[in-house]
Amino acid sequence: MKLLQSPAVRVGLSISIATGLYGVSFGALSVTSGLDFWQTMALSLLLFSGGSQFAFIGVVAGGGSGVAAMGAATLLGMRNGIYGMQINALLQPRGWLRFAAAHVTIDESTATSTGQTDPLEQQRGFWTAGLGIFVLWNLFTAVGALAGAALGDPKQWGLDGAAVAAFLGLLWPRLKGREPVAIAVVCALATVLAVPFVPAGVPILVAAVVAAAIGWFSHGRSDEGLEPDVDPYAEHPHPRPSGDAT
């Protein structure tokens, strides 16, 4: 089939499978954090942004309130607005396609698209990764949620350790260079200091304020931390065009 010859479609499919699979860990962690099956599915179907979803259940699992969970998830979703702007400039979707494109604007679809230079390939990469991940992520979330509910005591299986690993795994690819590491360390310290003094969940919001202040007052690269979770082109180096509309 001709479409499978397209490099962007191939990268989009492989990243869909890799990302979709770890929907299993989200589903399992979500039900063990205390959400039920349908709440878990609502997050994957409607919120559909890995970082925000893990943030929501991470706060809930730590005993935080729904408001704090919402705050963390929403602040972590801000970068999707920046991605939306980049994709809008590249693909210029029209009409209802715009609303569909917005929903599948995530780290992976943006990275797959902006890693291509040809406009048609950018288009194919975005939709293949976006729709592919949407389908597989939801499928595997359901699998994980059903499996997680059957596991019994989550601690015995180390699922709280799995959550720790998941967050470190999401953070890791963004720590390229000295500055992001410094930001991470400062925010980690602020969190530890805040834990005994404020209700569960709030230390995460304290760290967000600290991080925003660093971003506001310092003058580093404007795309720091906006490298996506994964680099779909890691094995096939590809010239990256600038993603903004200038």
Binding site: S25, L43, G62, A73, T74, A102, G158, L170, A212, G225
Partner: protein
């Protein structure tokens, strides 16, 4: 319900990028804050899930999970392997009677 409101707000961010004129959002400072906040939130979530137990700090098997995940990441393991390494370390340490 906070969960559904989170979904609405999450979608609102995404849509904002498409509907608001690029000139408004192209402010490098906004883009930078989105980036630093992403790093800060993920670092904070990692720490909270490692050492917080409600409002108290606790050093337990989850520290082993953090170490195992770090080692897996240094060796460029895929995400799912990292998560399994974390779960395995925490479960293993508990089996040995710690945390």
């Amino acid at each position: 319900m906070w969960l559904l409101l989170s979904c609405v707000l999450g979608y609102a961010w995404k849509l904002l990028g498409y509907l608001v004129p690029a000139s408004v959002l192209r402010d490098p400072r906004m883009s930078r804050i989105a980036g630093t906040m992403t790093i800060g939130l993920l670092a904070s979530l990692t720490v909270v899930n490692t050492v917080a137990s409600g409002q108290t700090l606790a050093l337990d098997a989850r520290l082993g999970a953090l170490a195992a995940a770090g080692i897996a990441l240094v060796f460029r393991a895929p995400f799912l392997v990292v998560v399994i390494a974390g779960a395995g370390a925490a479960a293993g340490l508990r089996l040995l009677g710690w945390g």
